[in-house]
């Protein structure tokens, strides 16, 4: 930072006064000089005039008395006056007297001329003219004197101002000294400000500063005490908050934050994440108080199990998740042994709530490396849960991270496709096996990627379900299919998941669209049986609603899941679409033939139409016909197209 140049106040005061005075002096000098010059000149003129006035009567008498020879004698006396350079006396424009000084003779030019009429004594009659040539010498001398005086005045003023400036500087010197001293001032340093004995403003300032210092010192001490007190309080609070931040209040165990903190310090370690299986059910069944009690007891038992293990730190990650952080990496066998032993130990644990005995089981995910240990152990835990294994160690070969990355990429693609209207229906015909004519079309979802490739739902449908985009896709398919078939004389089917049916928003959307496009009597909803229809009441209500509107219902993938004929009866569907896994080997697989035969027989008895899908060759198609399946769908007859065949 540039240091500001010191600007002396005393100098400023003196210079400003000097400047103003100089300006005033100059103005006064110029004006007075002008006035004085005129006045001086006037004085000289008057002097010359007085002389002329004085001598004129004498000359007048001489002229009047005809004693003209005396005139020169008279006017000669005038030349004794050094300022009178020449005198002329004219009578009737005739020169009757003339004298001039030596100076005038030597052609001095600096003069002025006064003319005066000579009047006859005692009358006003003009009898001649007196011409006086008067030197400006006197005037010049006066001006010179005036200039000298002014210069002396200016010089005196300058001298006075110099002394004045020095005096002001001397007066203000103490202020400068005080400021120099105060530069080094700090709260704890007592400075004795000088000049306090002076009986003037400086003395007042010095005394005030000294008093101020005392007050500041007192205030500073008070402030220091307060600060010290506050510092202690802050430290206490910081410790408390730190405890709160890193400690779990329920179990008293270090929490998830402390793991992050600790993992960062560990060079090589390992991690186990312990998840209590179905803990939600304990909470739901026995209540949260019971759940919290079990968590406390469970944590105490874990503490007692690992109390002697110097390098194992127990943590609570979240509600039903605990972690064992190994600050030093144990041998792999020992690490696995600890996990497996813990699983067994937990299985033996019995917790009491009121009079109930509660047993719990745990699933453990392990990471045998400290880098990304939390994420890796978490992935391992999820994989273990998925595979229903009690313990799984994170393995790079699982490629779980890649799967996650791919899933995220598909979510991005899906969002983009929705935004740019690249989700489209493709139509696959379903043939009537008795007439070999198209009975209806199934609308199948497709995604058109950036390169124009048609992407099968196999790649994105599950991801869409996880990322909550599924309902959007359903809406797109319903709207586009309804629009497409609005003016076509074909029946068409659309797949609905149980989730769709349970979603009131989707159901309302379906109702609105089928009525808007007038396709109630031609639309068939295919409900996936393989997903397991758990909430029968809601599904049944949906089917009833749709049937009232004139819609038809098909059960898709029948025979793949826990096919329940009783439920099927209750649902009052119109079609049964036999699961593709049964059809695709129908020509060779005897078991499949028996199951299909049973399904067809069952359907015939209930007066339901059957549909065989995934018919991909001639042999299967013939078998389908042999088994009296009513409709056929598959690549053998036609693969899904952008448009219906006639279009």
């Amino acid at each position: 930072m540039n240091k500001k140049k010191f600007s002396s106040l005393s100098n400023k005061i003196v210079f400003s006064i000097a400047f103003v005075s100089l300006i005033i002096t100059l103005v006064v000098f110029i004006i007075s000089s002008k006035i004085n010059k005129e006045a001086f000149h006037q004085i000289e003129i008057e002097k010359a005039d007085i002389i002329a006035q004085t001598i004129e009567p004498l000359i007048a008498v001489n002229i009047y008395l005809g004693m003209e020879e005396r005139i020169n004698q008279t006017i000669l006396q005038l030349t004794e006056n050094p300022n009178i350079l020449a005198v002329k006396v004219l009578k009737n424009d005739k020169l009757i007297g003339y004298v001039e000084s030596k100076e005038h003779k030597s052609s001095a030019k600096d003069f002025f001329v006064i003319k005066r009429a000579i009047t006859q004594p005692n009358t006003t009659k003009t009898i001649g003219e007196l011409v006086l040539t008067y030197s400006n010498k006197g005037y010049n001398e006066l001006i010179a004197k005036y200039k000298n005086l002014t210069l002396m005045l200016v010089f005196t003023l300058v001298i006075l101002f110099i002394f004045f400036g020095l005096y002001v500087k001397k007066l203000l010197f103490p202020l400068r000294e005080i400021s120099k001293l105060l530069k080094g001032y700090s709260v704890n340093k007592n400075i004795e400000v000088p000049f306090s004995s002076q009986n003037n403003e400086i003395g007042l300032i010095s005394n005030t500063l000294n008093n101020m210092q005392k007050k500041i010192l007192q205030y500073s001490k008070k402030q220091e005490n307060i600060n010290h007190f506050l510092e202690e309080k802050v430290n206490e609070k910081t410790l408390e908050l730190s405890m709160q931040l890193y400690m779990d209040s329920l179990t008293g165990l270090p929490n998830r934050f402390s793991i992050f903190h600790e993992i960062a310090k560990i060079e090589d370690g390992a991690l186990l994440i312990i998840n209590i299986d179905d803990f939600k059910e304990i909470n739901d069944f026995f209540g949260h108080v019971a759940g919290d009690g079990i968590l406390k007891k469970f944590s105490n038992r874990l503490k007692s199990i690992f109390k002697d293990s110097e390098f194992i730190n127990l943590k609570r990650l979240s509600g039903d998740e605990f972690a064992l952080l190994f600050t030093q990496k144990p041998p792999l066998q020992e690490f696995i042994y600890i996990a497996e032993k813990l699983i067994k130990d937990v299985e033996k644990m019995i917790f009491f709530h009121e009079k109930n005995e509660i047993s719990i089981r745990v699933t453990i995910g392990g990471a045998y490396q400290i880098e990304g240990a939390l994420e890796k152990a978490d992935i391992a835990l999820k994989s273990a849960k998925k595979e229903q294994k009690p313990f799984l160690l994170y393995d790079e070969k699982l490629n779980i991270e890649d799967v996650y990355k791919k899933n995220m990429e598909w979510v991005r693609k899906l969002k983009k496709a929705i935004k740019h209207d690249k989700i489209v229906p493709y139509f696959q015909p379903i043939f009537n096996n008795y007439t070999d004519e198209i009975a209806s079309y199934e609308s199948l979802i497709r995604l058109i990627d950036d390169d124009g490739n048609v992407i099968s739902p196999y790649f994105f449908l599950n991801i869409a379900k996880k990322s909550r985009l599924y309902s959007t896709l359903t809406k797109i398919m319903i709207e586009k299919s309804c629009i497409y078939f609005e003016h076509l004389n074909y029946d068409f089917s659309i797949n609905l998941s149980v989730e769709d049916i349970l979603d009131k928003d989707i159901v309302n959307f379906i109702k609105e669209k089928i009525q808007t496009h007038n396709v109630e009597n031609r639309i068939i909803f295919e409900i996936l049986e393989s997903e397991g229809i758990e909430k029968y009441e809601e599904v049944f209500a949906f089917i009833t609603q749709m049937k009232k509107l004139g819609c038809r219902i098909a059960v898709d993938d029948f025979g793949s899941g826990y096919s329940n004929f009783e439920h099927l009866l209750k649902l009052n569907v119109n079609y049964i679409k036999i699961d593709g896994t049964l059809i695709k080997n129908l020509d060779k697989d005897i078991s499949a033939q028996i199951i299909v035969e049973t399904i067809v027989d069952f359907a015939k008895r209930l007066n339901l139409l059957t549909v065989a899908e995934f018919v991909h060759n001639k042999e299967i198609f013939q078998k389908v016909k042999e088994l009296n399946i009513d409709r056929t769908q598959g690549y053998y007859l036609s693969e899904p197209q952008k448009n219906t065949i006639n279009n």
């Binding site: 008498v61 001489n62 008395l65 005809g66 004693m67 020879e69 004594p121 005692n122």
Partner: protein, 181 residues
Amino acid sequence: MKRAALLFFILASYAYGYTYNKLLLKAQASIFPKIIMLDKKLYEKLVDGKIVYTIVYEKSDYYTASEIGKFIESNYRHTSTQYAFKINLVEFSEFSSKTDATAIYILNSDTQVQELAKYANKKGIITFAYDINYLKSGFLFSLMLEKSAVIYLNKENLNSNKIDFVDSLYQIVNFIDKNSI
């Protein structure tokens, strides 16, 4: 005309009376009437509104006086003044208190002229004398021709309240008293 007058003066002086310096007579005839005009209280001295220049002479000097009168009259004729000018010739023997005069000019005389001078001063009449010696008798002005014409003024008679000339006159005259003549 001037030449003729000069010739007359020369001849007359040889024939009668006192001898006069003709040049002086002429100078006095030219200047004295003008001095009257320099009196600031002239209006008090007028006779019937006129300036009466009384020349007092001895019988033998009649012609001189007469010529002087003529000379003055001819000179005065060429000058423009606010007052009329009258020449009054009076012999010494005939002069009395009844004689009108604004100014009196005396030529030479054997008689005592002190009384006349005294009377004139008393009356405030301006007095001129041909001869400077008459100033001893109390006459006011006389004129001598030196390097130039010099007017003499008797300072003893200036005390009269009735005599008050322009100041500049006093600057060109030579003041004299009884002792200095």
